[in-house]
């Protein structure tokens, strides 16, 4: 009997052990379950560039630059501004999703001094992303945000408090980079693989610090004195003087092309449902400013580019769009100008334009936040805009041809419009006129590139000025339901998902026509 018990017990042990082995087959053969900051960072940076150039830009473009084309219908809230909690939810979801990747990098590197650059980049980019969100939604989760299971009902922080901490995070990032630079042998440098933004050829931490300063400047300028920042000084590295362009080596493979490139890998394209707006064109076609060179770089068949006023669907019937659209400088997916907005399937994506950096600096000088010569910075901003539009898919100015002399063309532009105070900074007498010139030029420079920034600046400053309801007088829709004098909305509501999943925290009573972002007019 005893023997039998031993045998049974032995069998039981063997059985239960092999049973465990039999069932322990839950290792995922399809996707990695662990990863490294070095592999997450390039995707996160490319993600940010996608979000800015696709999600935010196209949302802003409908508000600021373009109009509905003929042959399409069903524009809905694009032309009525009757925004709902379902409007532009991608801005919220995609940016927060992108932020979580930076949060992962930040957490994984915080106790690893070797990866100090990764930590710094994560902080800079988190500041960048959070500002994108605050500028659309105002108050939002910040201190409780991105904690996953630790807090699934994150409370909302005041927008001003978020701004304040974002600037502080940038200060930390800059000092972390400096620590790394002081001990080059004990830190792991960024690589072309991990940093598709600034390390495309060699690692460049100075550019990262300039980007950090530029983002901080944008926070301070936009806050307009409504935020008590801890530290309003900047590191000696200065601000971006070149376009921050990201390129993970886009290629002509489905899903791996430049995401704004309007042709498929087989070089087919559909016609866009949008046209340039008369308002946008009025800054090129002499209505407000004469700017033939940039007009040619930007628009197909300029001057005489077909246009419409947003909201007009029938009277007169709006022209049809071109294939793929009237901002595309070319005739097919293989014959194009490599200039303007669509430079090629392999062109990089701008994160921040040098022009924006210069116009931010010019405004900061006018407002007394930094010292410098506003007029010089203003002119450099215009030159940088010409330069970006003229640059080809490889981010260089071609040696010959229409797009070979951006600085000279910028100078000629100033001469042509010498009596126009939106172009000739010297004519802008008051600070307010200077701001108008700066923001109007920024509006032109951002056209269809970072349109949401133009929308932010319009809401903050009221420029470019709306002078009436005519097609060149306003960017507002003819069928706007907005109750404001300018007939423009002021913000988008929080997304429906917040009301469904975080109802106890999300603010209620948000009105798309009256609720303002804290810095807005």
């Amino acid at each position: 009997m005893k023997k039998h018990i031993y045998i049974l017990a032995g069998a039981a042990v063997v059985f239960s052990a092999s049973c465990k082995k039999f069932l322990n087959i839950n290792t995922n053969p399809n996707d990695p379950t662990t990863n490294t900051p070095e592999l997450v960072m390039p995707q996160a940076l490319t993600g940010t560039a996608n979000i800015v150039n696709v999600d935010y830009n196209s949302f802003g473009a409908d508000l600021m630059y373009r109009a509905n084309a003929g042959g399409f219908s069903g524009f809905g809230t694009v032309i009525s501004y009757d925004y709902t909690t379902g409007t532009a939810n991608n801005l919220w979801a995609n940016t927060l999703n992108n932020l979580e990747d930076y949060k992962y990098i930040k957490d994984k590197t915080s106790s690893n001094p070797k990866l100090v650059y990764y930590n710094a980049v994560a902080r800079i980019m988190m500041a960048h992303d959070f500002q994108l969100l605050v500028d659309q939604y105002n108050d939002m989760p910040y201190t409780d945000a991105l904690l996953g299971l630790e807090n699934i009902n994150p409370k909302y922080d005041k927008a001003q408090d978020i701004y304040k901490d974002l600037a502080a995070q940038i200060d930390t990032a800059v000092s972390l980079i400096n620590t790394g630079l002081a001990n080059p042998l004990s830190v792991q440098p960024l690589t072309t693989a991990s940093d598709p933004l600034f390390s495309q050829t060699t690692p460049n931490m100075t550019l990262w610090k300039q980007l950090a300063n530029t983002i901080k400047l944008r926070l301070i300028v936009r806050a307009g004195g409504k935020v008590q920042f801890k530290n309003t000084t900047f590191s000696s590295d200065g601000f971006l003087t070149q376009d921050a362009i990201l390129n993970p080596v886009f290629v002509k493979v489905s899903g791996k092309q430049n995401p704004i490139w309007p042709y498929s890998v087989t070089n087919t394209a559909s016609a866009s449902s949008r046209l340039p707006s008369y308002f946008s064109l009025s800054f090129y076609d002499s209505t407000k400013i004469k700017d033939t060179k940039r007009g040619v770089a930007m628009f197909k068949v300029f001057p005489g580019t077909p246009a419409n006023q947003l909201g007009n669907e029938t009277n007169p019937t709006p022209p049809n769009s071109a294939v793929p659209n009237y901002w595309f400088k070319g005739t097919s997916g293989t014959a194009y100008d490599k200039a303007g907005i669509y430079k090629g399937f392999d062109a990089g994506l701008p994160l921040i334009l040098a022009a924006e950096s210069y116009f931010l600096q010019a405004e900061a000088v006018v407002r007394g936040y930094i010292t410098g010569d506003a007029a010089t910075l203003f002119n450099k901003g215009i030159e940088a805009s010409f330069t970006y539009l003229y640059k080809d898919n490889t981010n260089t100015i071609p040696g010959t041809g229409t797009y070979s002399a951006p600085v000279a063309d910028a100078t000629a532009y100033r001469t042509t419009n010498a009596t126009n105070k939106l172009v000739n900074f010297a004519l802008a007498a008051s600070d307010e006129e200077k701001i108008e010139a700066i923001i109007t030029q920024k509006y032109i420079a951002l056209t269809m590139i970072h349109s949401h920034e133009a929308w932010n600046e319009y809401r903050r400053t009221g420029y470019p000025k709306v002078t009436g309801t005519g097609p060149t007088q306003t960017m507002a829709s003819t069928v706007s339901m907005a109750t404001r004098p300018d007939r423009m909305p002021t913000r988008i509501p929080y997304p429906i998902s917040e009301y469904n999943t975080n109802a106890s925290n999300v603010p209620t009573g948000i009105d798309k026509f009256t609720t303002l972002i804290f810095w807005a007019k």
């Binding site: 069932l23 379950t33 993600g47 559909s270 998902s497």
Partner: protein, 1036 residues
């Protein structure tokens, strides 16, 4: 698994022992002393048996372990007779319907019991009832026939998908479909559509979990037990039949026939190339259509309605041929069958065929060892367009003055080519049909082997090994097309400006399930107690793999090969594996014939859960009481033939992890995103889903109680069942605030409950020598089907397209946009535009759960002429026609002419009183600014979901069948034909919908057959169909 096989072999070797046998012979006769030929005689618990010869005589070799013989014969009451000491048995069978109570029901684990001993409800559907309507799909054949069983055809097309749910939905995001058990083996649900209904002996429906708990962690949804034919022990019989079925679209969305092309607000203007139908009223004049072609020609068409859209759909045809052979002797039997179905769908050029072969065999090797083998191989082939939904949508964008069939010849007719087609926004559907195709190949193999070893009269062992495998590949093709320069330059719309570069996607998939189970059963009698105990253990493994490769940009047109491309192909693939161990015990104790108590317990171990949570136990118990046996005095009341009271309780665990078999769900994954990898390296993003660290199975606890009674010599039968289930700790993927950095959270949280009543009644109204009339019905009433809680602040889960699970609401509900209303319930309009005002939030617009389901059937026969019919009603719920906004947008829908396209005062509306905030003035005079395009195509109409929610009620005439056996005189000339039957039958002949439903069959689901998000019907599948056909069958 190897271990189990070993164990079995060991068991066989050790305990195999010969026992003495003898031969028993006798005669079976009727009460009138007429010998009965072909009476089936079996030894319970074995495959042994025989049939009586033409003189009613039988002879059977009986092992000493056998205790009784079972006699059964159609039209006579079955008998189980104990074997005495003698070698001869003369049996008299009583004519009439056997008491339902004595019917043998095969339940979970292949355990057979008498119905009177069961403490839960079961419904048996026999082959005759199942195949009367000649449905090619078993789910279709079962629809409306069983109380508590809701089967919905969720799509049209050549092989429609079905959703099969018992007792409503319990699990919010997990599987709620009934378990499918084929010959005692759990098989994947999709197999239901790929079995040959002619192979089925019967289907037993086990509505509740008490009956199915032994099947393990999927059993909470009830089960359909399908038993295939095993062949009779009589002379070989060959059956050949052919069925020809015609399929016709039976319902089209209601369309307006008054206004033609145009898309201007405020005043209608005819636009020759417009798809929207907001032009002037038809006046019969000749008007141009489309834009001039390159040669300057343009179509001229009378401006009058021709109702030409619906003629796009054609008559479908199905030809079905069946052959089967069966036979056997006292040691075994064999059943071999083949079926070939060849069909054309209602969508032109859609083709489908299905071939099935089956071999079933039983053999008693020795007195103690029997074997049963069931194998079936099915292959189906689809050649269909991938664009049915798109085509349907584009047809709707066709003005009523256009005869669509005129554009069939898209290759040569200049007005029909993609370049010349009049509509610049929507393509020629005939071009779509040809240019976008999908070829699907599915091969299914199911095989099972049952080895039964009965060394002692009270002890037997069964070993069961089964494999189910599916092999699939799909080619999806789009040919290239280059538009002419003229079309590119002149067309108003956009599609002609973009060449179609052509593409090909090749995907392949396999999925295999292995089951292995060993079962030991003990059956003993102690005085008044009869005891049965079963212990069993088994393993299951599921494995699958899929790969997919795509190219776009064909080099040579019309050649669909992955190498024929200008671009880099893209590829992806996944593989999955999951295992499960289970052990169970099942105890049945009967006391006299009075009461029967049944209890079971099962423990499962799943590979898909963390080791500390992967093992879980769940018990079930039920009790049946026979008052007639306990109180014989009741039996004195003549009308009552039988009576049973029953009740049961069960708890079943279910692991409802998403994905294939729930494998690999516990660890968050990283995936490449935003085009990564690029040449410089890879780039990963975090999974957006949070996963609870302690994921456990969800548990369903259920109660059921019922009464079964029959009256007047078993002619009137009634079963009534009440059930209640409560499912807790549901595994759900809840949405979480994006501000957490994630978007969803997989956790155990939600609770649901459901309860209802199921009633089946059958009346054998006339039972005469030549005449027989049966009336029957089944009714399901859902008392409650509710979401009790989800998780924390999270009170809703989207199930897709507007179908939601919401705390405190029926499950699911339609939750979407609606008009603002004043306190009196009037719609608030804008006092300037007269347009109704939309609310910015969503609300519950109705429950998607039918409260009442009623099936009614009758069959009447005179001699061998038999007529049967089945109707079904469902009501008490709503359906959201979620993409029918296109009908308003296009102006083709009937709703858009409700006010003659003139300005109108929005019905039952009010507007805010400017002088008294919060009060409203009844609107009697403010008309909408535009009663045409400006209202119907805009978001004030199309952006409001409540406009598209209608009652989901329907009455359907599911089946009508008339069959006739040719009289013997006709047959006597052709001696070898035993019987010839001809029949005509129709399915879904009639569908009655309420007036508010303008669009489609409420059974359709936009979310697909497997989604719990029911109640969302879209116009994406071909229109609902009716079928009628004829069958001739010969038995040799």
């Amino acid at each position: 698994m190897r271990k189990l096989v070993l164990l079995l072999v060991l068991g066989v070797t050790i305990s195999y022992a010969y026992s003495q046998n003898r031969t028993i012979a006798g005669v079976v006769t009727s009460q009138n002393k007429e010998p009965l030929p072909g009476v089936s005689i079996t030894i319970p618990g074995t495959n042994l048996g025989t049939v009586t010869n033409s003189n009613g005589i039988f002879s059977l070799n009986v092992p000493s372990s056998a205790r009784s013989l079972e006699f059964s014969y159609i039209g006579f009451k079955g008998r189980t007779v104990a074997i005495g000491s003698g070698n001869s048995m003369n049996i008299i069978l009583e004519s009439g319907v056997a008491s339902q109570m004595d019917e043998i029901v095969v339940g979970a684990g292949g355990i057979s019991s008498k119905r009177k001993d069961l403490g839960y409800v079961t419904t048996r559907v026999d082959a005759e009832k199942l195949t009367a309507g000649k449905a090619t799909n078993i789910a279709g054949a079962l629809t409306g026939k069983v109380a508590g069983l809701k089967i919905s055809a969720t799509s049209g097309g050549v092989n429609p998908s079905y959703r099969v749910v018992l007792r409503g939905q319990r699990s919010i995001t997990g599987n709620n479909q009934a378990l499918i058990i084929l010959d005692n083996v759990i098989v994947p649900n999709e197999l239901l559509g790929n079995l040959n209904p002619e192979d089925v002996q019967d289907i037993t429906v086990l509505n509740g979990a008490s009956a199915t708990a032994l099947y393990g962690s999927e059993a909470s949804n009830g089960a359909l037990l399908i038993t295939t034919k095993k062949g009779s022990r009589s002379k070989p019989e060959v059956r050949v039949s052919n069925t020809y079925t015609i399929e016709e679209p039976s319902f089209f969305p209601k369309l307006q026939q008054r206004f033609g092309a145009g898309s201007t607000a405020n005043f209608p203007v005819y636009t020759p190339d417009e798809n929207q139908q907001y032009g002037p009223a038809f006046d019969g004049t000749l008007r141009p259509l489309g834009q001039p072609l390159a040669d300057g020609s343009i179509q001229m068409l009378p401006y009058s309605p021709v109702n030409g859209k619906n003629s796009f759909w054609q008559q479908g045809r199905t030809n079905q041929t069946d052959i089967s052979l069966s036979g056997g002797d006292d040691r075994g039997s064999m059943f071999v069958s083949a079926q070939y179905i060849d069909g054309l769908g209602t969508t032109p050029k859609d083709k489908y065929n299905k071939s099935t072969v089956r071999f079933n065999g039983t053999r008693q090797f020795a007195r103690t060892l029997g074997i049963t083998i069931n194998t079936s191989y099915t292959q189906n082939r689809y050649d269909i367009t991938s664009q049915t939904g798109t085509i349907y949508g584009e047809l709707m964008q066709t003005p009523a003055s256009i005869q669509i069939t005129r554009y069939k010849d898209w290759k040569t007719d200049k007005f029909s080519t993609p370049d010349g087609y009049y509509n610049p926004f929507y393509r020629n559907p005939y071009f779509l049909l040809d240019n976008y195709r999908q070829y699907t190949r599915n091969d299914y193999l199911t095989a099972s082997l049952d080895l039964k070893f009965a060394p002692l009269s009270w002890l037997d062992f069964t070993y069961r090994l089964a494999i189910t495998t599916r092999n699939n590949d799909v080619s999806t093709t789009a040919d290239k097309y280059t538009y002419s320069d003229f079309a590119k330059l002149t067309t108003h719309g956009s599609y002609k400006k973009t060449d179609i570069s052509g593409s090909l996607t090749e995907s392949a998939f396999y999925s295999t399930r292995l089951n292995s189970e060993l079962q030991a059963a003990i059956r003993k009698k102690f005085n008044d107690f009869s005891i049965r105990f079963i212990a069993a253990g088994g393993v299951r493994q599921d494995q699958s793999k899929n790969v997919s490769t795509s190219i776009s940009g064909l080099v040579v047109p019309g050649l669909f090969n992955l190498a024929n491309t200008l671009t880099t192909p893209t590829a992806s693939g996944d593989k999955f594996k999951a295992r499960q161990l289970g052990a169970y015990g099942d105890l049945n104790i009967g006391f006299r014939k009075w009461v029967n108590l049944h209890a079971s317990g099962r423990n499962d171990w799943l590979s898909t859960l963390n080791p500390e949570f992967r093992s879980f136990f769940y018990p079930a118990a039920d009790l049946s009481i026979s008052p007639l046996e306990i109180f014989p005095v009741l039996g004195k009341w003549k009308p009552l033939s039988s009576l049973k009271l029953r009740g049961g309780w069960s708890k079943v665990g279910q692991v409802n992890l998403p994905g294939s078999f729930g494998a690999y769900q516990l660890d968050p994954t990283f995936s490449q995103a935003y085009g990564y990898p690029y040449a410089n390296g890879g780039g990963y993003t975090l999974d957006n889903r949070l996963v609870s660290k302690n994921l456990k199975p969800e548990f369903t606890k259920g109660w059921e109680a019922g009464i079964d009674a029959s009256f007047i010599d078993n002619r009137y039968v009634m079963n009534l069942t009440w059930y209640s289930t409560h499912t807790v700790d549901q595994t759900v993927t809840a949405s979480v605030s994006n501000a957490t950095g994630f978007s969803s959270y997989l956790l155990n949280a939600a609770k649901t409950s459901s309860s209802g009543i199921e009633l089946t009644a059958n009346a054998n109204v006339i039972r005469k020598k030549n005449w027989n009339l049966n009336l029957g019905g089944n009714y399901t009433y859902v008392i409650e089907n509710k979401v009790l809680a989800i998780y924390g602040d999270i009170s809703s889960i989207s199930l897709g397209n507007g179908s939601y699970a919401i705390t405190g609401q029926p499950f699911p509900v339609i939750f979407s946009t609606y008009y603002k209303r004043d306190p009196q319930g009037r719609v608030v309009v804008d006092p300037i535009t007269g347009y109704p005002v939309r609310e910015t939030t969503n609300k519950v617009l109705g429950s998607a759960v039918p409260v009442h389901i009623l099936g009614l059937n009758f069959d009447v026969s005179y001699k061998t002429l038999r007529l049967s019919a089945l109707g079904e009603y469902r009501g008490g719920y709503v359906t959201y026609m979620n993409n029918t906004t296109a009908f308003d947008f296009s102006g083709g829908g009937l709703a858009t002419v409700a006010f003659n396209r003139e300005r109108f005062v929005f019905p039952n509306s009010s507007y805010p009183d400017p002088s008294k905030p919060g009060e409203y003035i009844a609107n009697t005079n403010i008309e909408v600014r535009d009663g045409g395009y400006g209202f119907w195509t805009q978001s004030v109409r199309t952006g409001v979901a409540e406009n598209y929610v209608a009652s989901g009620a329907f009455w359907k005439l599911r089946e009508v069948a008339l069959s006739y056996d040719l009289p013997g005189k006709v047959l006597s000339k052709v001696k070898y034909i035993k019987r010839t039957t001809i029949s005509v039958q129709g399915r879904n002949l009639l569908m009655l919908l309420p007036k508010t439903n303008l669009y489609t069959d409420p059974e359709y689901s936009d979310n697909g057959a497997t989604s719990n998000g029911i109640g969302v019907a879209a116009i994406v599948s071909s229109p609902p169909s009716r079928y009628y056909g004829a069958t001739i069958s010969l038995i040799f």
